[in-house]
Structure formats: C-alpha cells, structure tokens
Symmetry: C2
Subunit: 421 residues, 2 copies
C-alpha cells in the first residue's frame, strides 16, 4: 500500500540542523556556537510578569486578552507596530499604515504564508547566497525553485542580480520569478547589512524586469535582526521608505528576537493584493495570533518599556560580539576571512580557497572532537544548479553562549584552524 501523503507531505525534508541540535544535546561538554537562540540572561522575565499582571488584574482588560480577536491582529498592536516602524525609519510614513500591518505567530509564519500566497510549485524565488536556512526549507517543502545572488558586505551584488534576471529572461523563466528575498539587517548567516542605496537599486532593477515577467516581482525584506544593533543611533531605513515600496515591498518583522521568542509574535507590512490573500490564508491557519501575547507586546510598546528593554539587549549582544571579536583576533589564523557584525547574533568566517568547513570536512569533524560546534555555511546556500554550493563558510553565533564559552569555543576552534588551515 502506498502512502496517502501529498507531494508536499512526502517532499518536506527534516530541518538541516536538527542533527546539529541533537549532537549538541548528546555531548554535555560541547560548546555550541551554532544555536541561533537569544540570550537567556536578557529575556524580560520580570518585565513580562509586571505587564501581564497589569493586563490580568481586572476582567475589563483581562477578558479581551483571553478571548478571540480579529485575524489581522489587535488594532492597538497594529497601530503601535506601524508607529514603532515609523520611528525606526526616521519618521517616514510612506508605507507604514496600521491597515497594512498583519500580526503573526513570529515572522516565520508571515514568510510561510507569503510564499503560499505568491508561489505555485515550480515558481522561482531569488535569495542571497548564503541565506537563512529555514527559508530554504520552506522553498524546498513547497516545491519552489531558488537561485542565489552573490552577497557582498553591503548587500547583494547588483551586477550579479542583473545577470541572474537576464539569464532567467532569456530562458523564458522570468514569468516564474515572484520575489527576491533579502535579510537586510545583520543577515543570518553573514551579519551583512544591506545599504539603503542597494535597496533602492534592487527595487529599480526588479521593476525593470516586471514587464518581461508579466507580473510584479516583490522585494521581501526580512528585518528579523534589525533591532539587535550595537550602535543604537545609526539605523538604516527599510525599503518601505523608498518610492514604489507601497506596491512592491513585503516587510517581515519580529518581536521574538528583541523581546522574547517564547511570546512569539511577528508582523508583516504588505501591499495589495498580497495583504488580502495572506490575511485570508491566516484566517485558515489560525484566525489570528494569541491575544494574550498581543496585549503583552502592546503594553510593552505603549509604556516605553519595550524600547528600554531593547536598549539593554543591544548592549548585551554588543559586549558578547566584542568578546568574540577579540577571541577571533587572538586565536584564528589570519588566512581565515571574518565578517564582523554590527548587530544581530552572528559572525561569518570563510576558510581560504579550496578548504571546506562543511559537515563532512576535516575542520568540522576536528571541531566536534574538540567539543565546539558551528553551523556549516554550506547549509545556507540554495539548491541552485547554476553554481556549486560553496563550502568555505562558518556561522559563529554569540547569541546564547556565555562570554566564557565564547572565549573557550573560539579558542578551541582557533586551535583546529591553525592546525588544518
């Protein structure tokens, strides 16, 4: 008897890092620089207690928090979210309207539903090379093809993006291209941040190919790490602030990383007709995210406690990133190229040409033997037949490890690299 599973059900692969996580759990002495978790020490335990107490102190505020809400999300939280983004974008309000905000169960859910709304089996999404590996898992599961666009330290390589679009145009596949997906702030896995100039150029370029595509090509801006920046004042505006953004930019944001993954909420700002499609899909998924969590975030935002909390979080990660930077300078051989992050949770290291940091490489195996774990960069590249999957990258996270473990982990890894590089 055959399986009853759908094509999607049969196709969906296990997450590429599930075995990494199992490995970490099975070796108690292992120092993990692999996990993308946030730092336990900065989670807002006492703050959340106070805010939830305020909400649940009376039936008047407590009952709505425990009742069903509306699918798009609480009006108050949508308004506060739009205002918060406007502030981050320097007062810009071109595309920041509460009516375009959709609250979701993390930005991951927003990305998933956006792909449902846009892509049929066989459609194409362009991604950074490398990119966020769970996004690649969604593409794989949904039968969506991906092509990688080279990533530089300030965003995608525009000439390469153009050549990819040109090639797709010539092969007649441009009509299958629905979006370009960029992680624009302190990217996972490289830590790279896309400049506003590049965002502008990317939007313009996508627009040029729309006629040949026969439909809009959306820029999906995933800003998950945006608020984890080390230099508080120096934010890059989102693509939402650019001309034409209101029609073509899909913005994915999250409260998980800056506030708490355990109170998982994200949000999207979307243009029509994508907004309406995603809203209806959300209705079928869960008709709206948990109100209790929405009220919690709304209180945090409206009391200013959210901003104060995020400032603390930023300082904490900045300190841990500095620890990792110093340890790398001390222990890594100079031939290993390191991209230093100005925010987020990750450093990106690249081995000299011809060397592999992949799962089966000597480097990865020796690191494991020395009880230190990283995410092999090869897991972050799309399955793109147009190029060989690079294997030289390593994602090093300073998010959840303690400062002592960051120092010791980098020291161990440095010893492995000095021996093998």
């Amino acid at each position: 008897m055959k399986t009853a599973l759908s094509a999607l059900g049969r196709r969906t692969a296990p997450p590429p890092i599930s075995w990494l996580m199992k490995t970490a759990l099975s070796r108690p002495k292992l120092i993990s620089l692999a996990a993308g978790f946030t730092d336990n020490a900065t989670l807002p335990v006492e703050l959340s207690r106070e805010l939830l107490n305020g909400i649940l102190r009376s039936p008047k505020t407590g009952q709505p928090a425990l009742q069903y809400g509306i699918t798009a999300g609480e009006t108050n939280l949508r308004t506060l979210t739009a205002r918060h983004l406007q502030k981050l974008d320097g007062g810009h309000d071109r595309a920041h309207s509460p009516e375009r905000v959709l609250i979701t169960g993390g930005s991951q859910q927003l990305l998933y539903m956006t792909l449902e709304a846009l892509c049929d089996d066989g459609d194409i999404v362009l991604v950074e090379d490398p990119t966020y590996f769970v996004f690649l898992s969604i593409l794989q599961s949904r039968g969506i093809k991906a092509h990688g666009v080279k990533l530089e330290r300030d965003g995608v390589d525009l000439a390469h993006l153009e050549s990819v679009l040109e090639r797709l145009k010539k092969s007649g596949e441009l009509r299958r291209v629905k979006a370009l997906y960029l992680v624009t702030y302190f990217q996972n896995p490289t830590g790279a941040t896309t400049t506003l100039a590049k965002k502008r150029a990317v939007l313009k370029l996508l627009k040029q190919y729309e006629r040949a595509a026969g439909h809009p090509i959306y820029l999906v801006e995933d800003a998950a790490y945006r608020e984890l920046r080390f230099d508080h004042g120096n934010d890059v505006p989102t693509a939402l602030t650019l001309p034409g953004a209101k029609e073509r930019v899909i913005y994915a944001g999250t409260y998980s990383k800056p506030y708490a993954p355990g109170a998982r909420l994200g949000f999207g700002i979307l243009p029509e007709p994508v907004y309406t499609a995603v809203l209806r899909i959300k209705g079928n998924h869960d008709f709206g995210s948990a109100n209790l969590l929405q009220q919690l975030l709304a209180r945090a935002l409206e009391t200013g406690r959210y901003d104060r909390h995020v400032a603390k979080v930023q300082k904490n990660y900045a300190r841990k990133a500095a620890v990792m930077k110093r340890a790398i300078a001390e222990h890594f051989p100079p031939s290993v190229e390191v991209w230093e992050a100005g925010g987020g949770l990750y450093f990106w290291a690249r081995l000299p040409k011809g060397m592999s940091a992949g799962v089966k490489s000597k480097v990865f195996q020796a690191a494991l033997k020395s009880d230190v774990l990283y995410v092999p960069g090869e897991l972050c590249y799309a399955d793109d037949p147009w190029r060989r999957q690079p294997v030289d990258g390593m994602r090093l996270s300073f998010g959840s490890a303690s400062e002592a473990n960051i120092r010791e982990g980098i020291k161990r890894l440095g010893a492995v690299l000095r021996k093998l590089v």
Copy 2:
C-alpha cells in the same frame, strides 16, 4: 499586468461569516446568536494571572518560558496532554503516547497542516453534512474537493457513507480520497455527538475501501467541543481507543474552548507517517508554538486548576443552554425541528421542508430587521455537486450572548418564525 499571486492566493475566498461579523458590529442593538466565541464571563483571568506569576517569579522557570522550545511542543505539556486524554478516555492508553502528541497554535493550525501533509490539489476529503465552515474554507483554499455525508443525531449515516465510498470507487476517484473529517462531540453546527459504535463502524468501513484506494484513508476526529459537556461524567471515548486507531486516527484537540482562546493552543495525536510530515511542516510554519502559553497550560493541568476551571465552564454553558432550550420551547413554532445539544455552544434548528433560512431568505432578512443574527446553515455545507446545498438550517449559539440576550434573541427570532413559517 497580471497578478503575481499563486493559484492558492487567487483562489482563497474571504471567510463566509466575515460579513456577518461586520453586520453585528455595525448594529449596536443587534443580538448575535451567530458568534462562536466563548463566554467572557468564564475566561480564567485571575487563574491565568496566578499561574503566570508562578512561572515568571524566577529566572529559572521564567527564562525557558520566554525562550525558543522544540517544534513538537514542550515535553511536559505533551506528557500532560497525553495523560489528560487518557483520563478522558477512561484510562485507555492504546494510542495516547506523548511521542505522538504535537502542540499547535490552536486545533485549527493542526487541521491546516494535516491537510497540507495529506492532500494535493484535486484530492477529496469526506465531511459531515453540515460541518465546521472554516474547515470548508481550508478545503476551498487548497483546491481540495469535498463530499458531504448525511449527519444523524448520533453521527454520520453509515449507509450513506458506504454509498458515497462506493460511488467514488466506481468513478475511479477513490484514490483521491484521503480522509473523512468528523466533528465528533457537540458538533459545529448541529450539536450532534458521534457514538463510539459509529466511530468503530466508520473506521471499519474506511478500512474496507483502502485496498481500492491504494493508500490509507484517515479518520480525522475533531474533538474541539469535547470538554464543553453538560453531564460531566458521561463522556464518549475517542476513536483513539479503537483497534487500528494507532495507524488511522488523526485526533485534533484544543485548549482554546475549555481554557482560553486568547492563550490559543491546540494539539494533535497523529499516526506515522503523518506525524513526521506535519512536524516538519510545523517547523516551516513557526518551529513550535509560543512557550509562554505552553507553560501556562502545563501549570494549569498539573496543578489540577484546569479541571476545576473546566467544571465551572461546563456548568455555565449548561445553564445557558437550558435558558435557550426554555426560550425555544416558549417562542418557536412546533414545526421547526430543534436539535438540542448536550454540550458545546450550539443548537441546530431546521425549518419545515421547502423553507429557507439562508442569507437571502425572508427569515434571515426579517431576523436582521428584528436585530437578531444567526449563522445560516447553508454556510456549513460543502460545495458538493452530488446534492443541492440544504438551506433549511440555522445555527444558534448560546456561547457568548448573556442569558438575557439569549431569551430576548430567541423571542425575536420566534416572532419572525411564527410569522413566516
């Protein structure tokens, strides 16, 4: 320029009751017997405050609650959920293992992901006639065909189920049939409860057609209203207790209705290979539901506070159902057939043959004019070409309206019916 939306994105229809809800909001004097909301008065405001205070009192318990967890759900909550179901099923443990439990963002998300895992575009799911209309929305969105099976007061009509399967076998479509979806307790919209004998017969019948289908045909048991029963002691065991259930029953449960929709959590118990497929899909949706809510429910369950709360909820709905029953007896003409519920949130009324209670009917319009709203039963029937969509049903909810409003609403509706029937 064409839209970039996918077939799913273009196809997904607005929820059929969104305009009903808008109507309710725009008429302040309107009494809504339409909403399926739970009763504000019984929401566990103070209880949730106490439990969350306990969790967030110390970093030791607070940090894990605010951190990422695992995709399947917290081990503790899965264990408590399995144990809770075992208890409801009279100690039966045939298929109640924590390893088979998946925690989700409401049972709705479980249903959605189960359909993703099982059904391709054009596949078939059998449903009750009538059934839960949001389930129909998912089918519509995902391009899944539905055939309705007649519903009696004790579950589906077995002879009709067999004739539907036989007809599909003859037409060669049986290989597209992936599941039968039953809302087994105090069904939405009819209040009907499926007996264990019927569940057994249904499982047996589905099994008989598997050879011709070439693959398993699953029984999806949606038990969303199970714990809202009026006679506490007299529970019907789930299909999970039957022989063969471990391989063929997909059980969808929820904590939303008995505890709080605003702390939205549901769960599934699934057989392989569906469990693994749905788990991977869940990883792509959101890699696990919010830990804070999971810890809240775990505390409620392990302290026994959940059970005590549910007992109160049951009493409250039993009282409100009795109010509706008396009002119907007083005000409805005897020619209107009413199915009285033994739990849940709904009564089901059917007009005499030939009369319509549908959206465009005189009855519905006159009711609106009298400022009383119900859910027209026609919205609860699958788009099934094999029969005309019945229009004689009305779903009457006693869930969120006050006792005074239930009395007044039924009185108004009774006046309309006496005039028109």
